[in-house]
Point group: C2
Chain length 352, copies 2
């Protein structure tokens, strides 16, 4: 047995939501946006001849568009290949302490995967019985903090006061607030960037901007932390963002009206859906995201998950402690949700 095996990094990879090959399904399992991106994104194509040239390593056009959109300086914006790339590089850049980093026990399931990958010690802090952060848990010694707000897969939003309390109580470590779903509800922590030098806010184009297929994410922070991120990025891959991402990302930012309209539609559909399934015996945690986390009063989530799948409706089920009786249901179009509600209505009635 060749001894090179001893020096291969052993990891337990993250398992993404299933991507069915069959296109004849209602796909509510990976929190994608049911609407296409802005028509401007469809209309603009890069000059194909330029494909032969390296993209701008600074991703300047996209960084500038984001800086202007959020009212910050370009030196405060970092972009990457989806927020996963931005978060992974943030872990690698900011979490180099011997003390454990902290994040909730029920949260984005990539955090512990990155910690394992980069050999970062970590501690998972239990959410309370209502799936809320226990703020005091984040006041002890630690090597850094990361949490999504709204949280995933619960969809629960923590008030900005709570977020600020965590940031303020941890001046010696970096606090990452992962705002993948913030556009669907809640107040952003972005204004706190000026007040605290230890805050990094991470965003994505995959949910509210309907561009999961392009892989665009970004971080906003102070220039010093953004420079540290860029140094690591340039030490890993000078050109992470390809030309189509750069060109189409800018177009999305420039069509704010479309963006707001579609986000509004999804929120409206979500609220209607929550009410309709309540009548079928489901309870949803209060959601500020483009998905709901739902449990039924008598039918096990696992069974509903399997039955829905048989009917070509994909939702997400996590076979994990505390949440194994919940389904994470992405909000699709009204028509898609109607089909799902009809299915559930029939299923619940006939269940024995």
């Amino acid at each position: 047995m060749a001894s090179w095996r001893d020096n291969i990094r052993q990891v337990e990879p993250y398992v993404p939501g299933e991507q069915p090959k069959n296109t004849n399904v209602i796909k509510l399992n990976t929190n994608e946006n049911p609407y296409g991106p802005s028509p401007r994104v469809k209309a603009v194509q890069d000059n194909e001849d330029l494909l032969r040239l390296y993209p701008d390593p600074t991703a300047g056009a996209l960084v500038d568009a984001l800086a202007e959109y959020h009212g910050v300086d370009a030196s405060q914006v970092f972009v990457g290949v989806g927020s996963d790339d931005v978060l992974a590089m943030s872990f690698l850049t900011f979490f180099n302490s011997d003390k454990p980093i902290l994040f909730p026990d029920i949260t984005y399931s990539f955090y512990d995967v990155w910690a394992e990958l980069f050999r970062i010690p970590y501690k998972q802090m239990p959410l309370d019985e209502n799936f809320r952060l226990k703020i005091d848990d984040y006041k002890g010694e630690n090597g850094g903090i990361v949490f999504p707000n709204p949280n995933a897969p619960t969809g629960i939003y923590e008030s900005l006061d709570h977020v600020e309390e965590i940031i303020k109580n941890n001046p010696d470590v970096i606090v990452i607030v992962d705002e993948a779903y913030i556009d669907f509800g809640g107040e952003t922590a972005l204004p706190l960037i000026d007040k605290y030098d230890n805050l990094v806010v991470v965003r994505t184009f995959s949910k509210s901007r309907s561009m999961a297929g392009l892989r665009i994410g970004y971080a906003i922070s102070n220039p010093e932390l953004i420079k540290a991120l860029n140094d690591v990025k340039y030490s890993y891959n000078s050109y992470t963002m390809n030309r189509p991402s750069l060109v189409l990302g800018v177009e999305s930012i420039h069509d704010d009206a479309y963006f707001r309209e579609k986000v509004g539609q999804i929120i409206a559909t979500r609220e209607r859906f929550v009410k309709e399934i309540a009548e079928l015996g489901f309870t949803c945690l209060p959601s500020s995201a483009n998905f709901v986390f739902a449990t039924h009063e008598s039918i096990p989530a696992k069974e509903i998950f399997a039955a829905a799948k048989e009917n070509n409706i994909y939702v997400r089920y996590f076979d994990k402690p505390r949440i194994d009786n919940y389904l994470r249901i992405s909000i699709g179009t009204d028509a898609e949700m109607d089909v799902f509600v009809s299915f559930l209505s029939k299923y619940v009635k006939e269940y024995k």
Copy 2:
């Protein structure tokens, strides 16, 4: 001073070749291809509506196309965001020994950057006086080996016998052969994959396939090592390849005639260019790449570099020991090289 600064990863990033904003230049500084990609790449666009969905995390279509093209199984192919991404992940995956990894002192300048980033011990082995690998240097104890063939920035190709000798003598570590430039000359190490279980061959679409702007690279090896790479990839970012890359990458692979034609043109232009500048007092190392490494008998490279730039001709100069009197000149179109030769001819004549 906040103590979070103590836990930020300190790195000296790789400096990519300059990307001039001015488009009115002859750009021979980053080894791009002067010809556009296959017309098939231009003609095909993905269904824009699909941009809202996550790409296939397995990059299946592209992996399958590459497997078929190279006559290997799909389980032997790994794709990434340029060969930089593939190499960085390979370092992270395979180089976890306490012993130093080995690579040449004059080589792709990202190797030591990745080693620093991931805290991998390394030793740079001096090339001989003709800029050739000293094979015996790679026979001692080590934690892994990586080298480009042809080498960069020299363009020198090492025979497959030499490559095999290195692989054979290091059964206990992973040997990565970085074949970014192999299509422009020399024999690939791919057939050795079946013979040695410690070999990883890395390729890119950025040079011979004219697709630097899309960021596509890949590795071919045995299924066990490819699985280890994929495990790390899935632990870092499930979806590294965006939809345009996947769709357009496949089209490039499927147009082999165009690919061969353009590679042939570049080789012909290179040979002509080498002869023409020889008459002006330049010597080029024997190049098997899409660039030449050239030195002048009397004029310092640094001065030629600056003068060319003033005339809107960008080439690459490395202010490093042993190679600070060389220019790395990418091969452009015949017309571009003619302009450059005219400039050099005039410059050499008037130099005093």
